[in-house]
Amino acid sequence: MNSKAYRLVILSLYVAMALILSYIESLIPLPLPIPGAKIGLPNIITLVSLLTLGWPLTMLVVIARIFLSGFMFGGGFSIVYSLGGGLLSLLVMSLLLHFFKDKISIILISVFGAISHNLGQVIVAAIVVQTTSLLLYFLFLMLLAIPTGLFIGITARELMRLLGKTTIFAKLNLPQKK
């Protein structure tokens, strides 16, 4: 199998797994007074994809996941907010990975990704409802994003460690091996 086809297979697997995680996440309501807060399970896949495929293909994974899960589990309007959060989060994580590659752990990248995900969603929401009074809401979301980001980061690091032992990624040109 040539590496282009192999990459496509991995890419589709990521989209499928992220979609399943989105679904599982929608089944787990967080018993918290912060409405709309989520654990961010699909971000595990985003992180793994970012580390193995690089940001251009990861953007495809994120966009595909958001559109598919938006049509399947959420209302159509939720896609706009998810896109705002997902893309800002991806941008921040890609930049961190690019500039501090050796100095930063996956866990910290995940925490910053979680915070910027909330920031992106709140910015889109503030534009849509035309209000500036969502700052308090964002601070509460950010407070929650730190522990969930830590959890997702640790999960992604362990997943990478285990996947690294397999030969799944051997045919990919891993960005970190350049």
Binding site: P33, P35, G36, G74, G75, F77, S78, Y81, I104, S105, I107, L108, V111, I115, A125, V128, V129, Q130, T131, S133, L134, L135, L136, Y137, L139, F140, M142, L143, I146, L150
Partner: protein, 114 residues
């Protein structure tokens, strides 16, 4: 994870907590409070928080029922798909908000008479 990363995370947590505390301290007041309902930036209605009141706001996108009782405001009913506004805890301090994204409705507690 290195030591300075733990410090960064603790720093972020501190920023959040200080931000939330500062928000409540700055907005703390003895003045009478009101509840303002806005849709896409346009003020729809303002009610005093001290008087019990129930009203339904309806437009093309759907309806939300606001209930003010015992100095707190909350959305008791909505026909949006996610019901996030209904799940939001009742608000009572200035600056707190309830947002219904599908209906573009914002309910917030403000300082001052209506």
């Amino acid at each position: 994870m290195k030591k300075n990363e733990i410090i960064i995370i603790i720093g972020l947590l501190a920023v959040c907590l200080v931000g939330i505390a500062a928000f409540y301290l700055i907005n703390a007041t003895n003045e009478p409070l009101s509840v303002r309902v806005t849709r896409q930036g346009d003020v729809v209605a303002i009610f005093p928080l001290s008087e019990d009141h129930t009203e339904t706001f309806t437009d093309a996108s759907g309806s939300n029922t606001l209930e003010i009782s015992g100095d707190t405001a909350k959305i008791v009913e909505a026909d949006c798909p996610d019901h996030i506004c209904v799940k939001t805890y009742p608000i009572s301090s200035p600056g707190e908000t309830i947002v219904c994204l599908p209906h573009k409705l914002v309910v917030e507690v403000i300082t001052g008479e209506s």
